[in-house]
């Protein structure tokens, strides 16, 4: 399924991969979250993997989008795991975070599944 700026693909039973593209407009996060959660509910999703491999930097604005999406997913009983976070993004994010984020993190999907 394609939502503007996002590709949502089922990769297993209850597992979904969310792949953001360059055209993603996170300022429109409410409608994006509505579309993603609606699809996850419809497909009875259990886990949502968010691919961060193309993101070199996570600023507070992008973090607030990830945080809102993870919280919305949690409400519908879907666990969100951010995968393939780049060293530069982790470096930047660690500098302004006070605690651990709402979402989980893993190097790869397989690492989390193990």
């Amino acid at each position: 399924m394609s939502i503007p700026g996002l590709h949502l693909t089922q990769i297993g039973s209850g597992d979904f991969l969310l792949d953001p593209s360059r055209s993603l407009n996170i300022r429109d996060k409410d409608s994006l979250i509505d579309a993603v959660t609606a699809h996850l509910m419809q497909m009875r999703a259990v886990r949502l993997y968010y691919d961060l491999s193309d993101l070199g930097l996570i600023d507070p604005l992008y973090y607030s989008w990830l945080d809102a999406l993870a919280r919305a997913a949690h409400i519908i009983n879907v666990e969100m795991i951010c995968i393939r976070m780049q060293p530069t993004a982790a470096f930047a994010l660690a500098r302004f975070l006070d605690g651990l984020p709402v979402f989980k993190t893993a190097l790869e999907i397989q690492d989390w599944q193990k």
């Binding site: 975070l97 651990l100 984020p101 993190t105 790869e108």
Partner: protein, 287 residues
């Protein structure tokens, strides 16, 4: 308002002089200082720098105000000695060689100008004073280059020391160890974090054991840096295990209100490694 400087006749004659053809007479100090047993330069190179020096001296004496030590011409001359000093130091020479060269070349310039003009500049106190003020500035430029070089060497050594004092080792497939020794300041944390995160990504590490046995004291800033490092490791998707926390450090962390709730800690590096192996499903025992 402009101030008119009172110049002696010989100084006026010096500033009116058309300087040319003195390069060969400036070569002797260069050959003596740089072409001896130290072999810092060959004769051709000394000849080149002597020609360049002649041209720069000519520019200074022919400038609008040769007594202005901040003029463009004077800056060019200082740049020449700065570069010469750098060149000699890089080739293993000593700053004393360049200082002696600069002092000797001062007298060679005066002698060469005397020969070229027939005016006894060496007998004039005001001419000698003028050249002394100019060459004092040039010696300062030589020392400036020496200090820059020392500073760069010191920084390079510090960087090397920082790198070697935080060796990141892959002790098992997917398990990295990072013994931290000494003080964690901002610049060191940045370096350690950068190399650690890149290693996690490159080696696909699943656990990092950070050993603080070598850290003797901790303050609010250092603990903040430590937390940042642990958090960045966790954000990459790896487990961070902190080991070897001294009782004094544990007490300091408590009094600083540092939240260690989401961080796995173990008493020693050995316990930390056991925990990392346990999480990876690796069992190690006696045969």
């Amino acid at each position: 308002m402009t101030t008119k400087k009172a110049l002696s006749e010989k100084v006026k004659a010096l500033f009116a002089l058309k300087v040319e053809g003195i390069a060969s007479q400036l070569e002797a100090p260069g050959v003596a200082m740089f072409c001896g047993s130290n072999r810092l330069m060959d004769v051709d190179e000394v000849s080149d720098i002597s020609h360049e020096l002649e041209s720069l001296v000519a520019s200074l004496l022919g400038s609008k105000d040769p007594t202005d030590l901040a003029s463009v011409e004077m800056q060019a001359l200082k740049g020449f000695f700065h570069n010469l000093s750098q060149k000699v130091l890089m080739r293993g020479g000593h700053v004393e060689d360049v200082v002696r060269y600069t002092q000797t070349v001062q007298f060679s310039v005066i002698e060469a100008l005397e020969k070229a003009s027939g005016v006894a500049f060496g007998q004039s106190r005001s001419v000698l004073l003028y050249f002394t003020s100019v060459f004092n500035e040039l010696i300062m430029a030589v020392f400036g280059a020496y200090l820059d070089e020392r500073e760069q060497t010191l920084q390079a050594q510090q960087a090397e020391l920082r790198e070697t004092s935080t060796p990141i080792t892959e002790i098992w497939d997917g398990v990295l160890t990072l013994p931290i020794i000494g003080t964690l300041d901002s610049s060191r944390t940045m370096l350690v974090m950068e190399s650690l995160l890149n290693r996690i990504s490159k080696d696909h590490a699943k656990a990092v054991v950070m050993d603080l046995t070598g850290v003797k004291s901790i303050d609010s800033q250092v603990s903040h840096h430590l937390m940042q490092m642990v958090r960045a490791v966790q954000l990459m998707g790896a487990d961070a295990i902190v080991t070897g926390i001294h009782p004094e450090i544990a007490r300091a962390l408590v009094s600083l209100n540092i939240d260690f709730n989401n961080i796995t800690t173990r008493a020693s590096m050995s316990d930390g490694l056991k925990e990392a192996f346990r999480r990876m499903g690796v069992t190690i025992g006696h045969i």
